[in-house]
């Protein structure tokens, strides 16, 4: 046993010291340098999943949940004190794990390079505590082309790319999986608490990685060192490190601060902790905020949602983040904490320019507040080239209230059409007070096509982006007022 204060990670059951490891080192590079070459680098930006590994994280419905993450994005320092399992740890060629067995015999690997990543993503789904097989006599109730009869959600693999197989045999393998045996060690591990988030302070070659224990400690550090880089899931920062070669003198990890990890329904609002991951919010809300329930499956991939936090998605202030359009439609507010106290800013006032916000260097997003009651008519429309795991060309969030056939309240959030996420105020005005009819919706849709200042890029043309704004409102109207089918 190493000295408990020495930074270390438990990998496939072995405790390994982090002493001397540069703070920007990704978990992937660290594992590979240790000879664990199962995890591969395919893209180094969390898009391909070839580096997927399992981390023992706090669960929603069990004490611990084996959570798949992109090892290329997470600095290994952020895993100090944590438990990691790689494809090598799940099984060996003479003693295959059930997930490995199914993939191997069904032709789930061709070149095999993406395969260890698929194994880890699929293992996380195999062990998902609330995965429930469809009843034997179910008439395809939960079994569609994205859900298997064994309860496997194909979205668990949405962040893994395979260039060889065309995916069919991987899907077949996923849908053939049973449930873990009674003596399965990984299933048993989920019933015990996850590793604590312990304080970390690593300094190598003048660069530091710090994990404070409390919010006040974190805020004090930021006040003292305004140049600090704040990271939570590191899904954005990891890309900066890998692709743009950015290095930070000080990285401060806030993803396990207890003050940032609460979700509660209160009088007048829902409070969502900024450091909760998208997956955690999805599981904790369990459909209670329908607009967000529509958003989650469209937000990046499961691998990214397992790491990315809602505070991070707001904090990076990307104009093409997926959460802001939905949150703008929900009239969300941002709670900012600093040593001076807290302030609450409407999200609509939060973004001030391209990747610029009202947040001061010593402030942290503590939580996001969604006012209650929620609007009854909602929709989240994301336009992208690929259905799963793509960055939006345009995203639109709707929250409308209609009384006696008239729109009485409208909130529309837009992404991808300006330097910041923004509200479609002119369109909201064009809807409110008017009848919810095809004619007035068409008029409002033509206003919507003029919102923002969309541009041409490799994702979409400006004209397509504008057209999609208007089309999305028509689609919303159609979905809520018509049956798609008309008599023959």
């Amino acid at each position: 046993m190493t000295d408990p204060s020495t930074p270390c990670v438990t990998v496939n059951g072995d405790q390994v010291s982090l002493t001397g490891v540069a703070t920007h080192t990704t978990t992937l590079d660290w594992l590979r340098n240790r000879g664990l070459t199962g995890a591969k680098e395919g893209c180094a930006e969390g898009e391909c999943g070839a580096c997927s590994v399992l981390v023992a994280r706090p669960g929603t419905t069990s004490p611990t949940e084996w959570t798949s993450v992109n090892a290329c994005l997470v600095p290994v320092a952020a895993l100090d004190g944590q438990e990691v399992v790689t494809s090598e740890g799940l099984g060996t060629s003479t003693d295959l794990h059930p997930v490995q067995q199914e993939l191997a015999v069904r032709g789930g690997s061709q070149c095999g390079y993406c395969t260890p990543g698929f194994v880890c993503s699929l293992a996380a789904e195999y062990y998902r505590p609330n995965r429930e097989p469809a009843p034997a006599d179910a008439d395809g109730a939960v079994c569609d082309h994205e859900h298997g009869p064994n309860g496997v959600d194909l979205h668990a693999l949405s962040g893994n790319l395979c260039r060889c197989t065309g995916y069919r045999p991987i899907r077949d393998a996923a849908y053939a999986l049973g449930t873990p045996e009674a003596d399965d060690a990984f299933a048993a591990r989920q019933q015990k608490p996850p590793p604590e988030a312990r304080p970390t302070r690593i300094a190598v070659d003048g660069a530091e990685f710090v994990r404070p224990q409390t919010l006040s400690e974190a805020l004090g550090l930021l006040a003292e060192r305004p140049e600090a880089q704040v990271v939570a899931g590191s899904t954005d920062w990891g890309v900066e490190v890998n692709i743009r070669g950015r290095r930070a003198p000080l990285v401060v990890a806030i993803d396990r601060l207890p003050e940032l990890r609460e979700l509660s329904f209160r009088t007048g609002h829902v409070e969502i902790g900024a450091a909760l991951t998208l997956t955690e919010i999805e599981r904790k809300l369990n459909g209670r905020v329908p607009l967000l329930a529509e958003l989650f499956p469209q937000f990046a991939s499961r691998l990214i949602r397992n790491s990315a936090t809602i505070g991070g998605n707001i904090g990076t202030a990307s104009p093409i983040g997926d959460a802001p359009p939905a949150l703008l439609a929900l009239d969300a507010e941002v709670v900012l904490a600093s040593p001076r106290g807290e302030r609450v800013v409407p999200l609509a006032d939060y973004f001030t320019g391209y990747r610029e916000t009202v947040r001061a260097a010593d402030e942290l997003i503590r939580s996001v507040r969604l006012p209650l009651p929620l609007a009854p008519l909602v929709g989240f429309h994301k336009i992208a080239k690929r259905r799963f795991d793509d960055i939006s060309s345009v995203a639109v969030g709707y929250a409308l209230e209609i009384a006696d056939g008239t729109v009485v309240r409208a909130r529309i959030g837009l992404g991808g059409v300006a330097a910041t996420p923004l509200r479609a105020v002119a369109t909201e005005d064009a809807l409110v007070g008017r009848p919810w009819t095809e004619e007035s919706v068409r008029r409002a849709a033509s206003v919507l096509t003029t919102e923002g200042t969309p541009m041409d890029d490799h994702r979409a043309s400006a004209s397509y982006r504008s057209a999609m704004l208007g089309q999305s409102l028509l689609r919303l109207f159609h979905a809520h007022t018509h049956r798609e089918e008309v008599p023959a």
Binding site: R32, G42, Y113, D389
Partner: protein, 794 residues
């Protein structure tokens, strides 16, 4: 039945087996080139200095500042090259260029103790450039008459005259995009020096022999001083046929100069910005039909976007010309082909090798013309199929025209195409905002390298004294299952259970002068060479076995490791005993095998001959659903019947068909290479240089219902154990997806609407197509360049 194609009783070929490395893949134990780095001590890491210009002269290169970065060991420049400063086979690819020919061109390489040191060192190298005007699009190259290589023409009959007389003539222009290979494993080379400065290069290469030659040229040493090994690749798809050579040469050069192992592994951005891709093409065409919809004539000009150097552009173009007919009889034809030189990456081989590009022109024009002819596209395609005995425009008989018809009819029947199309018509009537389409397309793809000399292969088979067998062959494993098939071939040829045969990594010091593992020919060529080697050994062993059993050697049979006579009375001996006896009788227990494909000839100057051993056939029916609000679509169902001959390994072959199909669908519908074509500061830069911007098919693009069948009773006379090649042909089955999207888009408009669809048919492209179809048309403006226009109605 030929000796090559005949199978013994109870063969190991034909059994559905998982990939031979499957258990190593799933556990992560399978080793790829870059996984070896940690097993060496003292390896240096390489990083390129990439030019921020699309076309420029390098006026000065000063590496001094790089040496100030801690950990930088060496900056490699042109002065370091002892041999020839060139990485290609056409001598137009300087390894260290003085003229930057595309955005991101590597002008020199930095070696560091760590990757971080090499990266920082590369950033410190000072380079001065003199920018030059650039040609980025193929249109710009055509306007500037910037071409490279030899233009080629393919013709038969008198297309001009036939077009004059045709009842219906259409013309059009069609430009379509290339494709990034996006093998999950990027290019990697790891070079070591041993005694006397000899070099061993581990390389992710489909063409170890050519990598060896180029490394030799660059180092100025003969081939016998260079060994190239490829353990396996994490995908290749043609992208590692020509492109690895330069990276291997850099690593080898670094190893020679420093005496230390050098690892060169491109990260994804470097790989996409440095390495070649599938050629995009520009085409113009005129097609004539008779009143029954029979094609009577085709004139076309194909311009391949070759990028900055020639690479494999000429043979890619030749294959495009040879496949413009796809499955259709075109009595009068003239196709002119040329290669544009642009300031882009040097475009290269990619699964199909020009075949898909040629065929896409034909399938696109049929899809556009069918509504104008008033003929159902399924009927139009079927009506124009080759008939038995007809020949291709390059003079080769289409010997199995009936097989194509058989695939077609089987897909139509098992896919219930007629019933489903009636349902789709009904669905489309009832759904104003959602439309479905179902299209069928055929594939006829010629198998063999067009260049006859490449159609040879070697193998080396060892039987050890203990009866175990080790096989080597010249082919490389990139995930296509070649090694699995080769194990099955060897076990079949020797009469052994699979467990007795092991396969060693591909190395140039075991089997020399190999061809690239390409053109779908890996199993045909190497399988026949292995079979040849095994049969030599077997022939010697049956002599020994005859003596042991006291029977004529002609009557000795070896099956599942047991040696018997024709009659049970003659008894039996085990394989190990036979081998041990043979050893003590001083019988040679190993053999080198060789194979050359018979019956091929090709005259590239007139584009005539018999370039292909046979054709692979296949048919697909795809059904899509398109959302009228956004152009987004789903692939609802795909039915495929494909001809792989008598399959060597059915699970592997089905995997190749499915994977090829989805990769083809990616090229045609999703994958969107975008270069900056503006006059701004980033002109010529690839805008989609990462997985976040260049989207591959993911689970969401897989057909919801995917039914693949192999054509039964499909014995191929001329190939090993009656099988056919499978790697490339299925990619082109994906034309059915594009054509189904065209039909769904047309369903938003009045009956008879002809839809012009961009390629790739992204949701945006489909949206504009359907929006145009459903919008009442103003009179056509005059400049309808991309439209098929009725040029002469008679």
């Amino acid at each position: 039945m030929s000796a090559l194609s005949q199978r013994p009783d109870n063969p190991v070929v034909g059994i559905p087996l998982p990939h031979e490395s499957a258990t190593l893949h799933v556990t992560g134990e399978a080793l790829y080139t870059d996984d070896l780095v940690g097993r060496l001590t003292g390896a240096l890491h390489a990083w390129p200095v990439q030019a921020p210009h699309t076309h420029a002269l390098v006026t000065s290169l000063r590496p001094e500042k790089a040496y100030e970065v801690p950990g930088v060991v060496r900056v490699l420049t042109a002065e370091d090259v002892p041999g020839i400063n060139d990485a290609g086979v056409k001598h137009d690819e300087p390894l260290f260029p003085t003229e930057v020919m595309f955005h991101g061109h590597a002008v020199c390489w930095v070696l560091g103790e760590t990757l971080e040191a090499a990266r920082l060192g590369a950033a410190a190298v000072e380079v001065d450039y003199e920018p030059l005007p650039s040609l980025v699009t193929v249109q710009e190259a055509i306007a500037a008459e910037s071409f490279q290589g030899t233009p080629r023409s393919l013709s038969r009959g008198d297309a001009g005259a036939a077009l004059k007389d045709a009842a219906h003539v259409f013309e059009g222009e069609f430009e379509f995009a290339g494709q990034e290979h996006f093998y999950l494993e990027t290019h990697v080379s790891l070079a070591l020096v041993d005694e006397g400065g000899q070099v061993l290069v581990h390389s992710s290469t489909q063409h170890p022999s050519e990598t060896q030659e180029i490394v030799g040229h660059v180092l100025g040493v003969p081939s016998h001083e260079v060994t190239v090994q490829c353990l396996r690749m994490g995908g290749a798809f043609g992208g590692k046929e020509m492109q690895p050579h330069g990276y291997a040469a850099i690593a080898a050069l670094g190893a020679r100069l420093t005496g230390r192992p050098v690892r060169l592994r491109l990260n994804r951005t470097q790989d996409i910005t440095l390495s070649g891709k599938r050629h995009g093409f520009h085409s113009t065409w005129r097609a004539g039909f008779d009143d029954d919809g029979h094609i009577v004539a085709l004139e076309a000009t194909l311009t391949a976007d070759g990028g900055w150097s020639l690479d494999l552009s000429e043979p890619v173009l030749a294959r495009a010309l040879c496949h413009i007919d796809n499955a259709y009889w075109v009595p009068n034809i003239r196709v002119d082909g040329r290669v544009a030189r642009t300031n882009k990456t040097s475009q290269t081989a990619f699964r199909g090798f020009g075949g898909p590009q040629g065929m896409l022109v034909m399938e696109d024009l049929l899809g556009r013309c069918a509504p104008l002819l008033g003929i159902d596209p399924i009927e139009l395609r079927r009506r124009n199929f080759y008939q038995q005995g007809q020949t291709t425009p390059y003079g080769q008989e289409v010997r199995q025209a009936d097989r194509l018809a058989a695939c077609w009819d089987q897909v139509a029947a098992s896919g219930e195409v007629a019933r489903r199309r009636a349902e789709i018509a009904d669905f489309n009537r009832r759904h104003p905002h959602t439309k479905r389409g179902l299209a069928m397309t055929p594939v006829k793809f010629g198998i063999s390298f067009n260049l006859t000399a490449f159609n040879q292969a070697g193998a080396l088979v060892h039987v050890y004294k203990d009866g175990s067998v080790l096989i080597n062959h010249g082919g490389t494993e990139m995930g296509q299952g070649l090694h699995t098939k080769m194990l099955q071939v060897a076990a079949t040829a020797l009469g052994l259970p699979l467990s007795r045969v092991r396969l060693a990594p591909t190395r140039t010091d075991k089997v020399p002068n190999t061809s690239a593992t390409a053109a779908s020919s890996g199993a045909d060529l190497n399988g026949a060479a292995i079979k040849n080697a095994c049969e030599q050994i077997r022939e010697r062993l049956v002599q020994v076995g005859g003596g042991m059993l006291g029977i004529s050697p002609h009557d000795v049979r070896i099956e599942d490791g047991v040696v018997r006579g024709l009659s049970p009375a003659s008894g039996e001996v085990g394989w190990n005993e036979l081998v041990n006896t043979a050893y003590h009788q001083r019988v040679q227990l190993w053999a080198a095998g060789f194979y050359r494909t018979e019956g091929l000839h090709w005259d590239p100057t007139v584009m005539q001959g018999e370039p292909f051993k046979y054709f692979a056939n296949g048919v697909a029916a795809s059904e899509v659903e398109v959302d009228g609000f956004t152009g987004a679509y789903t692939l609802r169902r795909v039915d495929i019947v494909h001809d792989v001959g008598d399959s060597l390994s059915p699970l592997i072959d089905i995997g190749q068909i499915e994977g090829g199909f989805v990769q083809g669908a990616g090229w045609l519908t999703l994958e969107d290479l975008r270069w900056d074509t503006s006059d701004g500061p980033h002109r010529g830069r690839l805008a989609t240089q990462a997985a976040s911007t260049y989207k591959l098919p993911s689970f969401s693009e897989m057909p919801e219902d995917f039914r693949v069948k192999l054509l039964e009773k499909a014995h191929e006379e001329g190939a090993v154990y009656g099988s056919k090649a499978v790697g490339e042909p299925p990619l082109m089955l994906a034309f059915s997806v594009r054509e189904a999207l065209r039909e769904a888009a047309a369903a938003f408009g009045p009956s008879g609407t002809s839809v012009d669809l961009a390629s790739p048919a992204t949701p945006e492209a489909v949206y504009w197509a359907l929006d145009k179809a459903r919008t009442p048309q103003a009179p056509e403006p005059s400049d309808t360049g991309a439209e098929p226009v009725m040029a002469g109605e008679r």
